[in-house]
């Protein structure tokens, strides 16, 4: 585990250094932020999706709660996101607890669909509560120019350390959980819930803890997303496709349940998307999402365990050990 944490720290520091090397106003630096954000989001999802194998398709609920909480507190009370984001994380944890009660026992596709409906409920709720959220017209983060106190900067370059820190935090949480008692128990629940219960594991409490931590992490990512893009609306931050499915997608493309899965997944997903958008966007409308869909189909069929599994090809060929991530 120490080795994992060390590697994560190295990745985060490397990302910060890369950010310093790039032009702070550039598109490249924004892509770097997007990759770190995607990795953090995928990793947060991985806590329930990977360790407990509960395929949540409703993480947009927590992402949106995080984004809206810190933004609303800024708009209404000029509260800094440094405080607003943790509050958002707490609210998301409460929401996760509330939705876990009716859905915890569900398995596979049933759980996926229930969480999907929960995400939609939150989206409709945000749209309807226009007094607080601004409704469908969305909310702009108040303009402060460059202000560390309000976690806001003109240039995307300034966000690299923030995203790198968040990435490290969420990944470290995953690594610690994965190697620790909680991760062990979550995996036991995943393999065989009844057997886990017989051995004295309080499966309900374990799953609830996992869901709450995952939701809180997701909310932090949502809060920073709002600071980074300055504008949020319900369709964006509570989006089933752009957030919920994407969070799962990042983990799955890389490798579900593995620490390196969301990192590889984020690199792949963001880079392929941005490459397709920047080269093909004006060629033929629809071609870049089309090709992205093709890539997804190919990956799922060719590497159902995710891209990380390519590593085994290499290590196996050279006769090294390395089945465990």
């Amino acid at each position: 585990m120490k080795r994992s944490l060390l590697i994560l720290a190295v990745i985060a520091i490397a990302a910060i250094l890369l950010g310093l090397a790039l032009d702070p106003r550039s598109y490249g630096v924004r892509v770097l932020c997007l990759i770190l954000m995607a990795a953090a989001l995928g990793q947060a999802w991985n806590i329930v999706g990977g360790l407990a194998n509960q395929i949540s398709l409703g993480h947009a609920a927590f992402f949106g709660i995080g984004a809206y909480t810190s933004t609303v507190l800024q708009v209404q009370f000029e509260l800094t996101p440094w405080i607003g984001m943790p509050i958002g994380a707490v609210l998301a944890a409460v929401a996760a607890g509330a939705i876990a009660l009716p859905t915890m026992r569900l398995k596979g596709p049933y759980f996926a669909l229930a969480t999907l409906a929960f995400g939609e409920i939150c989206r409709i709720g945000a749209q309807a509560m226009s007094g607080v959220t601004g409704g469908p017209q969305g909310l702009s983060v108040p303009f402060y120019g460059d202000s560390l106190a309000m976690m806001q900067f003109r240039q995307p370059g300034a966000y690299v350390p923030l995203f790198a820190a968040l990435f490290f935090l969420v990944s470290a949480v995953f690594a610690v959980m994965s190697h620790g008692r909680l991760g062990y128990m979550l995996r036991a629940v995943r393999e065989n819930e009844e057997a886990a219960e017989v051995t004295g594991i309080d499966t309900v409490r374990i799953k609830l803890t996992g869901a709450i931590i995952s939701a809180a992490c997701t909310a932090l990512v949502g809060g920073l997303f709002a600071q980074f893009t300055f504008f949020i609306d319900p369709d964006t931050v509570f989006s089933t496709t752009e957030i919920s499915i994407r969070a799962a997608l990042i983990a799955i493309v890389g490798g579900v349940g593995l620490l390196w899965g969301p990192i590889v997944g984020a690199l792949f997903v963001v880079l392929v998307e941005e490459f397709l958008n920047s080269t093909l966007s004006d060629a033929l409308p629809g071609i870049s999402p089309f090709l992205f869909g093709v890539a997804l189909v190919v990956i799922v069929i060719a590497r159902p365990e995710g891209l990380v599994s390519f590593r085994h090809l290499v290590t196996d060929r050279f006769g090294k050990k390395g089945k465990e991530a």
Binding site: V31, G135, P156, F231, D233, T236, S281
Partner: protein, 390 residues
């Protein structure tokens, strides 16, 4: 650096070459070309391409060097990265976009911080109410369009001797729908007209019977729907089915595009709608558009074509490709040629917030396969017909 400047300066003094000759000048276009608003995004880009083409034919200026860099932004979440890419990688000196208000809001957060000007035709009030310097809005705000939707309808009806005491507002719960519905609601309150039905509904609703049932029970004098195409067809048809003859005054978007006629045929006749602009001001440009695309030029094509021409002219005026100077030129310019002559004020100019000072909403009415400007009287091409459906 200084020698270059001196060389350039002397070249200018000699009048031999315009500043930075030969270089292409890139202008970014951010529009939803895929996703649910794809049709509107594509026709906006069609309008801009036509506007550029005509400008290149008609003038000897800078237009020949302008290249449009079009990028597909289907949703607001994609806007920041795309905007940044256009500014930093493609080196665009200004942006035009993005049809839907939420995409415009997201993109303009980036242009503001990068200090690159952007011209938009999205309706949302907030676009120019955030105190930003680099965003310009060529159409009236959603609230003003909503107010005009109500006030003009009441004026036309009362001129025909029809008294309006209660109305129904049906709007989709999108950014555009809620903003414009608020405009109608406020104007009704001011005019002392009762809002008998005030219903938002989810985008993509598959059966509007509940809405129409409530309209039938409330018996309002006018129905004001604010929606894209899908719901606009359902609302008009379901009213027809139930034999409701209450006049329908549409809220732009779905009510003033060729597909509205495709879906309803003869039942579009005499349907009113508020509109930010209409092609009948510029029949010659419309003929070009129709030849290329097979339909009349929808208002978004006209508006965005005008926005592009305004920006190109501003670059010419600024005699610079520095985005900050272009921004000042856009702000100072009053542009009244080409596509801009087809807008209601027949010009484009902005106040210090970037909102339009010349634009105002007009009323159009379906006549056969065309929509005709009928109100206010000084803009009208034909008289309005206040006919209740029989």
């Amino acid at each position: 650096m200084t020698t270059k400047a001196i060389l350039l300066g002397s070249a200018l003094a000699l009048g031999a070459l315009p500043a930075m000759a030969q270089d292409t000048i890139k202008i970014g276009a951010i529009f939803p070309l895929s996703g649910p608003n794809a049709q509107f995004g594509n026709s906006s880009v069609n309008g801009m391409r036509l506007a550029l083409e005509r400008m290149q034919e008609e003038t000897d200026g800078i237009a020949d060097r302008v290249e449009l860099v079009v990028t597909d932004v289907p949703a607001p979440g994609d806007a920041p990265a795309a905007t940044q890419r256009l500014i930093n990688n493609d080196g665009v000196v200004g942006l035009i976009g993005s049809f839907s208000s939420s995409i415009t809001l997201a993109a303009s957060e980036i242009t503001e911080r990068a200090q690159v000007p952007m011209i938009s035709h999205s309706f949302a009030d907030q676009i120019t109410e955030r105190g930003y310097e680099y965003i310009f809005q060529i159409s009236s705000k959603g609230s003003a369009i909503g107010a005009a939707q109500l006030n003009h309808a009441v004026e036309i009806a009362e001129a025909e001797g029809v008294d309006v005491s209660s109305i129904a507002i049906l709007y989709e719960d999108t950014s555009y729908g809620t903003a414009q519905a608020a405009g109608i609601r406020d104007a009704a309150a001011e005019a002392g007209i009762e809002v008998a039905v005030d219903q938002g509904y989810p985008l993509g609703i598959s059966d509007v019977s509940p809405l129409i049932n409530s309209v039938r029970r409330a018996e309002p004098d006018i129905v004001f729907p604010v929606s894209y195409l899908n719901d606009s067809l359902l609302i008009v048809r379901t009213m027809r089915q139930q034999g409701l003859s209450t006049p329908v005054v549409g809220g732009a978007a779905g009510y003033i595009i060729p597909a509205f006629k495709d879906g309803l045929g003869e039942f579009t006749e005499n349907v009113f709608s508020v509109a930010p602009a209409n092609y009948d001001y510029v029949p010659e440009i419309n003929a070009d558009y129709e030849e290329a695309h097979g339909t009349f030029m929808p208002h978004e094509a006209l508006m965005y074509g005008a926005a592009l021409q305004h920006m190109i002219t501003a670059i010419e005026e600024a005699d610079s490709t520095d985005p900050v100077e272009i921004r000042d030129a856009i702000s100072a310019l009053e542009y009244c040629d080409g596509f801009a002559s087809g807008l209601p004020g027949e010009c484009i100019a902005f106040d210090e917030t970037g909102a339009t000072t010349t634009g105002f909403p007009i009323f159009v009415q379906w006549r056969g396969d065309d929509i005709v400007t009928v109100y206010p009287p000084e803009s009208a091409r034909e008289e309005p017909i206040w006919a209740t459906a029989d």
